[in-house]
């Protein structure tokens, strides 16, 4: 019986984690095991946590404007550590012009302000089940 584990992390220096907590709570209520690591994490700390917790998905919450740099660094480190197959979602204050750039870096989904929680839960489920079916085949 597979139980999905999700890391919700806040990289960088912004000090607002209400959004990350709301998303973590919604994922918990949708039946996921959510690991929450709190504010001001470095990309290195996030990747190490993802390894030790053996998570199936990483959600980055970024409100500081540094989403391009931080997401890029996290994904580079994930490649280096051999865990690049774990999908990465980004949520936060993301200008629409930056969404394609994030997707190009390797981010699987981007959620801006006002995204309904049900949409996040649904897409998490879709991506996880997609990953599970490709790894089994």
């Amino acid at each position: 019986m597979k139980k999905y584990r999700i890391l919700i992390a806040k990289p960088g220096l912004d000090g607002h984690d209400r959004g990350a907590k709301v998303v973590a709570h919604a994922l918990r209520d949708a039946g996921f095991e959510v690991i929450y690591t709190g504010l001001r994490q470095t990309p290195e700390q996030i990747v190490k946590t993802a390894i030790q917790e053996d998570v199936d998905l990483i959600g980055l919450s970024i409100l500081s404007g540094a989403h391009l740099q931080l997401s890029k660094k996290v994904i580079e480190l994930m490649k280096k550590e051999g865990i690049a197959s774990i999908p990465v979602f980004v949520g936060g204050i993301i200008p629409p012009d930056d969404v394609p750039k994030l997707l190009e870096i390797g981010v699987a989904r981007v959620f801006g302000p006002g995204t309904p929680l049900s949409k996040i839960v649904q897409e998490v489920r879709e991506v996880l089940e997609g990953v599970a079916s490709t790894s089994e085949s």
């Binding site: 973590a24 209520d29 290195e44 030790q52 917790e53």
Partner: protein
């Protein structure tokens, strides 16, 4: 084993225990101190563990931590937040931290805990620290998993009546009065000494700590280590480990029977158990194995 292998292995133990067992039985058996931390929600267990890790690392010891938080009885989901307190150790190669959801287990831990602890011992850590969910009065499984149990209390815990209750208060080897930087810690300390004296127990098992500023942590680690050494020297550790296997077996038995029970369609609970046992025996007789 590197951290990634250990992490993957724990996932296997949690999701497919039978398959995990096949691999686990080939690993070298090793023994290290397994220290359990229990106590009510918010008394500072995770923060105290953070300080204990720092102390053990300053002694050049490697540390594995398993921190359990509750699963939802409604969604089966979980919010695992113990790591938040242990951030400063995330990049230390000598520290491995894993969060676990209780997944319906009622004793304050998770059914897989026995295999996970065995794995972490086999992986060669010098210390394994196990943190239970925030407990009430009766979640005592940590007694069977850990060699040394640390009960963490903090001011505001309640009056002397709480100390007299059976259950969690009885299972500790070390009593910690945490948040010693807060008012009210002296009276809790005094009540605890009184309670232990009354019970004919060793009052030197009480330590005052402040996980906030680290005071008392060195004394706590000394006590943990000394106690474990005594367990080894007196042969008591062997007995504890036998009890641990016994409880592990009970957990497996419960899980196996539950599996058969879930296939039974009967409104009479006694008959349901009987037919579950019957179908299990049938399967064993046919040489198919009971399956845990």
């Amino acid at each position: 084993m590197n951290h990634k292998q250990i992490a993957k292995f724990i996932t296997l133990i949690e999701n497919e225990p039978e398959r995990a067992r096949q691999v686990l039985k080939d690993l070298p058996r090793k023994t290290c101190p397994v220290i359990g931390f229990t106590g009510s929600p918010g008394v500072g267990k995770s923060t105290l563990i953070d300080q204990v890790i720092a102390r053990l690392r300053s002694m050049n010891k490697t540390v594995a931590v398993v921190a359990v938080d509750p699963s939802s009885p409604f969604s089966q989901g979980a919010f695992l937040g113990d790591r938040v307190r242990m951030k400063k150790h995330f990049l230390d190669e000598g520290v491995f931290i894993r969060s676990m959801a209780s997944r319906g287990a009622l004793g304050g831990l998770n059914e897989s805990i026995y295999d996970v602890v065995e794995l972490l011992e086999a992986a060669g850590f010098d210390y394994v620290l196990v943190e239970t969910v925030g407990v009430g009065q009766a979640e005592v499984e940590v007694r069977y998993v850990a060699d040394v149990v640390v009960l963490v209390l903090s001011p505001g815990f309640g009056d002397e009546m709480q100390l007299l209750k059976a259950g969690v208060m009885e299972i500790a080897d070390i009593y910690v009065v945490n948040k010693s930087d807060l008012a009210g810690n002296d009276s809790l300390y005094d009540q605890l000494i009184g309670f232990l004296t009354f019970a004919g127990r060793d009052v030197s098992s009480v330590v005052k700590t402040s996980a906030l500023n680290g005071s008392g942590v060195e004394e706590l680690v000394d006590k943990m280590t000394t106690l474990w050494k005594t367990l080894v020297e007196t042969g008591r550790l062997k007995q504890l480990r036998r009890e641990r296997s016994r409880h592990h077996a009970e957990t497996l038995a419960r899980r196996t029977l539950q599996k058969y029970l879930s296939l039974v369609d009967s409104e009479d609970p006694y008959k349901a158990v009987e037919s579950a046992l019957r179908s299990m025996c049938e399967r064993l007789k046919n040489g198919q194995g009971g399956g845990t």
